[in-house]
Structure formats: structure tokens, C-alpha cells
Amino acid sequence: MIIRLYNCLNLAPMITLLIIEDERSLRESMVSYLEPGGYRCITAGTYHEAMKAIDRYDYYCVVVDLNLPDGDGLKIIRLLKENQAKCGIIVISARDTLNDRILGLQTGADDYLVKPFDLSELNARIQSVIRRTRYTGQNYVIFRELIMDPEGKTAVLNGEQMELTRKEFDMLMYLITNKNRVITKDAIAEHIWGDSIYGTDYTELVYTHMKNLRKKLQAKTGIDWIQTVYGSGYRITEER
């Protein structure tokens, strides 16, 4: 079996994304967050621009807003499914009912993200979709001495299997996906527990899980990879 190893940051060839969003500020924010992660981002602000942009590249992932001033995002999804089968599609929409989500996914989207969202969450979803659509079969995420298997939810550090709980694994994966970025406790909580965590005292939950995760990493590496960013959240860095 060919085992493909790739690093989220240094993907080669260059991963091209198409971002279709009519609100310029949102579009620019997404680009600002995603491009330093090694993506090439093509943007479209209207349905027509999106139509033109679709043929220009072989996209790894298309992020599409459903409400466009001159057309329906669902049409773009249908077209993409016909022309670029390997392209992952993520819907970003303010429509948040179950029916909207089902409709988006049934039309061919791989994921559905309700606005407003965290950029770190969008980034994690994009990477997850690309892994699922492009790198079928077994693939790993490598970070420093750590090899993570997103499918099997296992992590190997310095050749040794790490004993991580499901939530610790997801948390570590989320941090690595957004490495070198500050990730807020709220974003982590929402990523791990979903919407229903809101309104509960989740800071303590995040703190407890993070403490255990750091202990486990430190026990194997001797160094604390995860930094606490005062009052805000956490960051995992590649710096040695």
C-alpha cells in the first residue's frame, strides 16, 4: 500500500481554492487567513465571476456562499459536481436550518458551515474536505515528530503511539491544522462540542482537556508545544 505522507503547510503542488462570497470584507478576511497557510486563493464576488473562475483552475476546494446577488450558489455546486468531480465543496451560509443543510449537502456540497464562523474552523473544514476528496486511502498529517491519522484517530510521536482520548485528538488536530495561529477557547469548544456547548461553562472543559493534552505531549517530547496566549486561547508552533 502506498502511504501518502503530507504536511498541511507545505503541500505541493500549490493547493488552489476558490472563494465565492459577495461580501468583500468576508472574502478578504478568508484570503488573509488562508493564504499564509500555503493556499492559493482565487476569489469571486458574484455568480458570474464564479462561473468564469470555475474553468480557470483545478480547484482542491471551493468555498461558496449560497446567497449571491446575481444567482444561486446551489447552481454553482451542481456545475462543479459535473465538471470537477474531485473538487471539495464547502457551503458558507447564513441559512442555518436543518433543511438548508440537507439541501446543500444533497446538492453535492461536502460540508456546510453556518455564518458567522471562525476562520480556524473554516481552515479545518477545508483541510478535512481536501483530505477526503483528494487523498483517498490512507493519509497522515505530519507535524514535527508527530504523525496523525485523521481517519483512525491515532497519533504516533517519535515512533510511539500516543494515548489520546477522542476529544484530545480532535483538539490537537485542530491546533495543528491551524498551527502558528492563536485559536480561541470558544473556537475550540465550538469545534469539539458543536453549537450545543454555548451557554455552558465550557472554558473549564477546554482547559482540562488542554492540560491533559499538554501533559501527554510534554511527557514524550519534554517540551510544551502548545503556548497559552494570555486571556485568549492557545497556539501550537512549529518553532523548535
Binding site: 468576508l26 478576511s29 455564518k115 471562525d118 492563536v182 473556537a187 486561547g233
Partner: protein, 425 residues
């Protein structure tokens, strides 16, 4: 009480009183007439008696023509030429029963001896006649009452038909409908009523449309700037060389924009539920929704060391939109966990037709009937204060009943539903 019943009662009572009064007057009148008649006969007989003075002498003797109806008694002093009519009773001959009689007492001097005469006549035939007349009258009164009652019912239905049509139209009227169009009426008052109702529903409909547009535009339009604030604050946080104070400020902006967008989404959800954006049919399996939420929040349960007891038969269903069902049980369960105390009880009991969630928790500072209102929350709560408002709203639109009971320091929420469509395994 129905208007028709009330009206029938009034009319019947009034008619009854009138008939009774008429009866009393008629009875008195008939009695007086029959007495007058008897008095005239007695006076006539007196004249006859006086024209035959020998009769007076043999008045009390057997065989006299007036024997049975004339009594003569000698008295000491002549009181004058007076006559007195009065009622009395006498024993019926050959019987122990008494019969009313009409008497005429008068005085004469017969052979220099003052004599008191009493002429009397049985009132029985006259009384029998009065009784028969009264009986007939009662019968007529009863029939008239019945007639009035039936006529009232019939007339009532015809006259008030327009009114009941209006009530029916109002019953079916919802705030999200267009203004009512009511038919005209021959009765002025009802026509005016219908016109005024039409005007009022037009105003309601206009207000609703405005509010609907305003709310949907606001909730939608507010999302984008909120998303921008959230994304920009996240980007800002990534910039290097930020000191702790700056990071905290950015975090605060992010937190508040997150809170605001949650609030916005929950309010939009309330609005959507309220305006029938969800289907009214479907089958929801509460057990799976509750298990999912318990599983998702199990660490919170662990942290609070809650004593969890559940009885969740998987086959029990609720006839409602499944996505609303999920929101309902998620909010109930979350509420019971979040507002629980350290080491408290969390009991979830699902039975056909009923879901009960019981939890410990401090006494809340709000009156119980406010629990389901929007934005009711304890001062240190991190939530939006919309969870139970959503529960109430969902129950309202899905024909479920929800009640809160506080017993022995336990908060108890019960959801009941009509169990007809339940499949039992």
C-alpha cells in the same frame, strides 16, 4: 355559557314571571267575579225569603224550601238593616270533607222578634270552574313558554348567524394571514362589527408584515457585519507583537460578536418557529435526541458529578417536526445540566405521552410563570436566556403542553403530548 342559552334563560324566566303574575291577577279576578255572582244570587234569595215571611218562621225546620241554605236564629237586639257577605266552610252532607260556602248575613224583625238570618250557597261549582280556567291557563302558559323557547332558538340562529360566522372567521384568523374579508350583514350592528374587524385585521396584517420584514431583514443583515467583526478580530489576534491587554480587548470583541450572533440566530429561530417555517408533521424519537445531547455534554455532567438517571425507551415517538424536537430536548437537557448544582440529580423519564426532566438547582430569582419568557436568566448565566422560551414556543406550535413544577427543591419540567400516533414496540 352560550349566548343563546343565556338569552333563553332570560326570556323564559321573564315569561314565567309574567305568566305567574297574570295567573295571580286572573285568579283573583275570577274569584271576585264568582263571589259577585254568588252575592247577587244570595241577595235575590233574600228578597224571595223576605217576601214570604212564613218561610222565615219555618226556616230551620225540615222540609222548608231554603232549609239547606238558610239558618234563622232569634237574637236579643235588632242591629239594624244590614247585610254582610263572607266566606266560610261547611261540612258536605254525608261526608267529612268541608266545602267553601258564600254566606249572606242579614237581620229582620219577625213577629216583633229580631232574627238573624244566614243564607249561604256552595262555592264548589264556581271554584271548579275557576280551577278549570286556571288549569287551562297554565297549560297555555306552558305551551307559550315552549313556543317562546323554540322561537327564540330559531330566531336566534337566524339573527345571530352573521355574528357566529364572524366569530368562526376570527377563530381561524392567524396573525400571519392577510386581512379578513367578512361578508355583509342585514343587521346594522353586525355589519359595523364586521367592518371594524376588517379594519383591525388589516392593521394587524400590515403591522405583522412590517415586523416580519423588519425582523427577517435585521436578522439576515446583521449576520454579515457580525461575521466581519468576528473574522477581523480573529485575524487581528494573529498579528504579532500584541500585548496582553490588546489580546484581551480583541478577545472581548470576539466574545461579544459571538454572543450577538448566537442571540441573533436564536431570535431568528424563535421567529421562524412562530411563523410556521417548520412543518407541522413528522415523527420525532426523543430518546435518540436526548442521548445525543447527554453524550455531547457528558463531560459537563462529569464535572458537576451529576447523578444521572434516565428511562428512555427508544420506540416512543412524538408527532412533531424532528428538527424542532431536537431543539426542544437539547434545550431541556442543557438547561437541566447547566442550572444544576454540584452533585445534583438529573433525571430524564420518557413515557408514552410524557417527557419529564428533573434537576436540582438553586431557587431561581424569577417567578415561576416567567421561566419560559425570553431573556429570563440568572445574573451570572453565560447563556442567552432563550432556551426555555424556545421550549415553550416549540410546544405551542407543535400542540404539546409544557409545565414547570418546583417540588422539594427539584426543578421539574414536563412535556405532554397527545399519544394517538405513537407506535409502541
Amino acid at each position: 355559557m352560550k349566548l343563546q342559552t343565556q338569552s333563553s334563560i332570560y326570556l323564559s324566566s321573564f315569561s314565567l314571571v309574567v305568566f305567574v303574575l297574570i295567573g295571580i291577577v286572573l285568579y283573583s279576578l275570577l274569584r271576585k267575579l264568582s263571589n259577585d255572582e254568588l252575592d247577587a244570587i244570595l241577595r235575590q234569595e233574600r228578597t224571595e225569603v223576605l217576601s214570604n215571611p212564613e218561610l222565615l218562621l219555618i226556616a230551620n225546620q225540615a222540609g222548608a224550601p231554603f232549609f239547606s241554605r238558610l239558618i234563622a236564629r232569634e237574637i236579643a237586639k235588632f242591629p239594624g238593616d244590614t247585610e254582610v257577605f263572607y266566606d266560610s266552610v261547611s261540612l258536605i252532607k254525608g261526608s267529612s270533607e268541608k266545602s267553601s260556602i258564600r254566606c249572606l248575613r242579614f237581620y229582620e224583625i219577625v213577629q216583633d222578634q229580631p232574627v238573624e238570618f244566614i243564607l249561604f250557597k256552595s262555592k264548589l261549582p264556581a271554584e271548579q270552574l275557576v280551577q278549570q280556567i286556571i288549569l287551562l291557563m297554565t297549560l297555555i302558559a306552558i305551551l307559550s313558554l315552549l313556543g317562546i323557547f323554540l322561537l327564540n332558538r330559531f330566531a336566534f340562529r337566524r339573527i345571530w348567524r352573521d355574528f357566529y360566522n364572524t366569530i368562526q372567521a376570527l377563530k381561524n384568523y392567524g396573525p400571519n394571514q392577510k386581512a379578513l374579508r367578512l361578508p355583509g350583514s342585514r343587521i346594522n350592528e353586525f355589519r359595523t362589527l364586521n367592518e371594524e374587524i376588517e379594519k383591525m385585521t388589516r392593521r394587524v396584517s400590515d403591522t405583522y408584515d412590517n415586523l416580519h420584514n423588519f425582523t427577517s431583514h435585521t436578522t439576515h443583515e446583521i449576520q454579515t457585519p457580525l461575521a466581519v467583526i468576528r473574522l477581523k478580530s480573529e485575524l487581528l489576534m494573529q498579528t504579532s507583537n500584541l500585548n496582553d491587554e490588546q489580546l484581551q480587548l480583541i478577545q472581548s470583541i470576539g466574545d461579544n460578536s459571538r454572543h450577538l450572533s448566537r442571540l441573533n440566530r436564536s431570535l431568528a429561530l424563535l421567529f421562524k418557529i412562530d411563523h410556521q417555517h417548520y412543518s407541522s408533521t413528522g415523527i420525532f424519537y426523543p430518546a435518540s435526541g436526548i442521548f445525543r445531547q447527554l453524550d455531547n455534554l457528558n463531560e459537563l455532567i462529569d464535572i458537576k458529578e451529576l447523578k444521572l438517571a434516565t428511562r428512555l425507551p427508544a420506540e416512543i415517538t412524538v408527532p412533531m417536526d424532528p428538527s424542532l424536537g431536537d431543539i426542544l430536548v437539547h434545550n431541556l437537557v442543557k438547561n437541566a445540566i447547566v442550572h444544576n448544582q454540584q452533585g445534583g440529580i438529573l433525571e430524564i423519564d420518557l413515557q408514552p405521552g410524557m417527557l419529564r426532566v428533573v434537576n436540582n438547582g438553586p431557587e431561581l430569582s424569577h417567578p415561576t410563570d416567567h421561566y419560559f419568557s425570553e431573556f429570563i436568566k440568572e445574573p451570572d448565566s453565560k447563556g442567552l436566556g432563550l432556551g426555555l422560551a424556545l421550549v415553550r414556543k416549540i410546544c405551542e406550535v407543535c400542540d404539546l403542553s409544557v409545565k414547570y413544577i418546583n417540588a422539594d427543591g427539584l426543578h421539574q419540567f414536563e412535556i405532554h403530548w397527545f399519544e394517538k400516533n405513537n407506535k409502541r414496540g
